[in-house]
């Protein structure tokens, strides 16, 4: 119990402990639900092993690992988006909408602008980042200037983004009522090299965007004055203001940067995984996944990478689970339980402290 008490006394360690505990409990609840509904939890575990490690009864297949990375990529990015805003004390429920705008901007530049290879795809990616930033700018501005709660605004902007881009995407030449044509090769992130390395998975150059984003996130937060100020604003905005920091400006910039990460997620999905733009009937849920990823990862760069791989693995396992008779929504349930438990982290810490016994802090 001494070990537990030591963990709990350190804020950072106790947060990590609660995250790990929540993940564990999330999977336990998932397994319990599977058992209660009369199915076999071993099927879920096998599916996850197959999806993440590529190992199944049929031997080893690298393609699964490629697909596992593919499903992790966008949610690592939306995770970074939510995490960045959290660092500034803002709750970005709007990653979904920012991502939709990013995806739409990417697909628009792909079809409407004619550029040579490489330049074209870079232009698409930059357009996605800019569109995400714009969609993050709105709640940032409203928060900074009018002190309007960003939660309600970003929720409303998610739906606005979906319906408006649904309309616009059908205007792109060649689009049907449900999707665009396949994007031109010059605008695609697809990589025959990465694909062939992973036995024909959909692994693509989006992985570079993800790695760069993680590095940039870490750099901004840890190494720049701006990052320092953001953390200060997030910790105590009044104190930051008193210290002479431009709080409003920092709030707007943080939401815009959060929007950039989410917009890039849109580019990765549209230009890399799908290779076409879609008319959405409902949200894909990347934004909510991003919230889970950021929470699991304690709002850090590497934490988001870890959280993204965790939930990405779970999602990659979904099709395999469904094939073996376990409804794939069990993955959604597990993520939901993890989110809800991490939301209760203060209460959970109190409970752990009671278990550890000893002095109160």
């Amino acid at each position: 119990m001494n070990w537990l008490r030591l963990q709990l006394d350190d804020d950072r360690k106790s947060n990590r402990l609660v995250s790990l505990l929540s993940i564990l409990l999330g999977f336990l609840v998932g397994i319990l639900i599977i058992i209660i509904t009369g199915l076999n939890p071993v099927d879920m575990i096998n599916a996850i092993i197959q999806a993440v490690l590529g190992i199944s009864a049929n031997g080893f297949n690298l393609r699964y690992i490629g697909e596992f990375i593919v499903s992790s990529m966008p949610i690592i990015l939306t995770g970074l988006s939510v995490a960045f805003a959290f660092r500034a004390g803002l709750f970005n429920i709007g990653a979904e909408g920012q991502m939709i705008c990013g995806g739409f901007a990417a697909v628009s530049v792909a079809f409407l602008v004619d550029l040579p290879p490489v330049v074209h795809v870079i232009a698409c990616v930059l357009a996605a980042a800019a569109a995400g930033a714009l969609w993050g700018f709105i709640p940032g501005l409203l928060k900074a200037k009018f002190n309007i709660n960003e939660v309600v605004v970003t929720i409303m902007l998610n739906y606005t983004a979906m319906y408006v881009t649904n309309y616009l995407i059908k205007m792109i030449p060649g689009s049907s009522l449900t999707r665009t044509l396949d994007i031109p090769e010059s605008a695609s992130l697809s990589s025959s090299l990465l694909s062939s390395l992973t036995n024909n998975s959909r692994l693509n150059w989006g992985i570079i965007i993800v790695i760069l984003s993680i590095v940039i996130f870490k750099f901004i937060i840890d190494k720049t004055t701006f990052g320092y100020e953001i953390r200060a604003v997030g910790a105590n905005s009044d104190a930051a203001k008193y210290a002479g920091m431009k709080v409003s400006r920092n709030i707007i910039y943080s939401m815009m940067i959060a929007g950039v990460f989410a917009g890039l997620a849109g580019a990765v999905v549209v230009l890399g995984t799908m290779n076409f733009g879609r008319v959405l009937t409902s949200f894909d849920g990347y934004g909510t996944d991003g919230i889970a990823v950021a929470l699991v990862g304690g709002n850090t760069a590497f934490g988001s990478l870890f959280g993204g791989l965790l939930l990405g693995g779970l999602q990659a396992a979904q099709t395999i689970m469904q094939a073996s008779g376990i409804p794939k929504e069990i993955a959604v349930i597990v993520s939901a339980v993890i989110i809800t438990l991490i939301a209760m982290k203060n209460g959970l810490k109190d409970i752990l402290k009671r278990i550890a016994g000893g002095r109160k802090s």
């Binding site: 409303m156 993520s335 939901a336």
Partner: protein, 316 residues
């Protein structure tokens, strides 16, 4: 003219789930607990009622009524998690609400697959039946809009608005709810059990949102699917902003948003509207809510302690 009548009647039908869920949100937020989980609670209620009516409709003609009760209870049950997390364990209410939304999305479709072997419930043969109120439906204008070819559930919405107004303004319980949402420390010092009041308020919001989801699926759909609620829970949340956390405000905003939902159905009958793409109608409630937030800003409409977990030791 009859097109306009039926359009208005239909807009009432579309409004009532929004209004009822909005009232649910009102209880929760007035007591100081933000409820972004309305969407998930509605989804749960819709699933509960759609799944139970499939079995009940063979047995009894009261099936829709029993089904909406089951839906309300399912919503209430799910809201207990939100209540426990955000009231007892002082969780971040927005995160907890997001978790509940996701949980509802997962568990409903999961159960559909367990019970019905597909991603949705089996279609029910009929939900509620439209009716006309004798005598009253003969009144010109009003009778055509409010009392002809309408679902009885619309009146539940109206009734709940009045009840909520009465509870909030005229009863001790309502006063306590408002006190907990405005200044929980003062309420506590006067002997009000803040945590209990908030817990009950969140539970009421779950029951009402569940009821709203149930009514929505039984009046607008023939089965439950993952997209049955399609954002109406968030529109209900918007009615609070738009209606300034007042029951009649929720009624007005809900009716307005309901109307904006059905205009697209009737757009082809009106040349002025026919040229507007339907996505604009879909996006309208969300855009206008953001505008409302900007216009109302700084007027202190929301409960002051909304969203802040109550910590007895903290300084107010």
């Amino acid at each position: 003219m009859s097109t306009i009548y039926s359009a208005l009647t239909l807009s009432l039908i579309y409004s009532s789930p929004i209004i009822i869920a909005g009232l649910g949100g009102l209880y929760s937020e007035k007591s100081g607990v933000t409820n972004v989980a309305l969407e998930g609670l509605m989804l749960m209620g819709a699933f509960g009622s759609a799944a139970s009516i499939v079995f009940l409709e063979q047995v009894t003609s009261l099936a829709p009524w029993i089904a909406i009760l089951i839906g309300a209870l399912m919503g209430g049950l799910l809201s207990l998690i939100h209540a426990y997390a955000s009231v007892k364990l002082k969780a971040n209410q927005v995160i907890s609400g997001t978790g509940i939304n996701l949980l509802a999305a997962g568990i409903t479709v999961y159960l559909c697959q367990i019970i019905f072997n597909q991603q949705r419930t089996t279609a029910f043969s009929r939900g509620f039946t439209k009716m006309s109120v004798p005598v009253l439906s003969k009144i010109p204008f009003i009778g055509d809009i409010f009392f002809s070819n309408i679902y009885p559930t619309v009146y539940i919405g109206f009734l709940l608005v009045i009840i909520t107004w009465y509870v909030m303004k005229k009863t001790r319980f309502g006063l306590r709810i408002r006190a907990c949402g405005e200044n929980p420390h003062a309420a506590d010092s006067l002997g009000i059990n803040v945590l209990r009041v908030r817990f009950i308020s969140v539970l009421i919001s779950g029951l009402l949102a569940g009821l709203a989801g149930a009514i929505m699926v039984l009046t607008q759909d023939t089965q439950f699917t993952a997209t049955t609620i399609h954002g109406m829970g968030f529109i209900a949340l918007a009615t609070l902003v738009f209606g300034k956390w007042n029951p009649f405000g929720v009624l007005g905003a809900g009716t307005f948003f309901g109307l904006s939902q059905i205009i697209r159905i009737y757009a082809n009958s009106f040349p002025v509207l026919a040229s507007i793409p339907q996505e604009i109608f879909f996006a309208f409630p969300y855009v206008i809510t953001i505008l409302a937030l900007i216009i109302f800003k700084g007027k202190g409409n929301g409960p002051k302690a909304n969203g802040i977990p109550y910590d007895q030791g903290a300084r107010s």
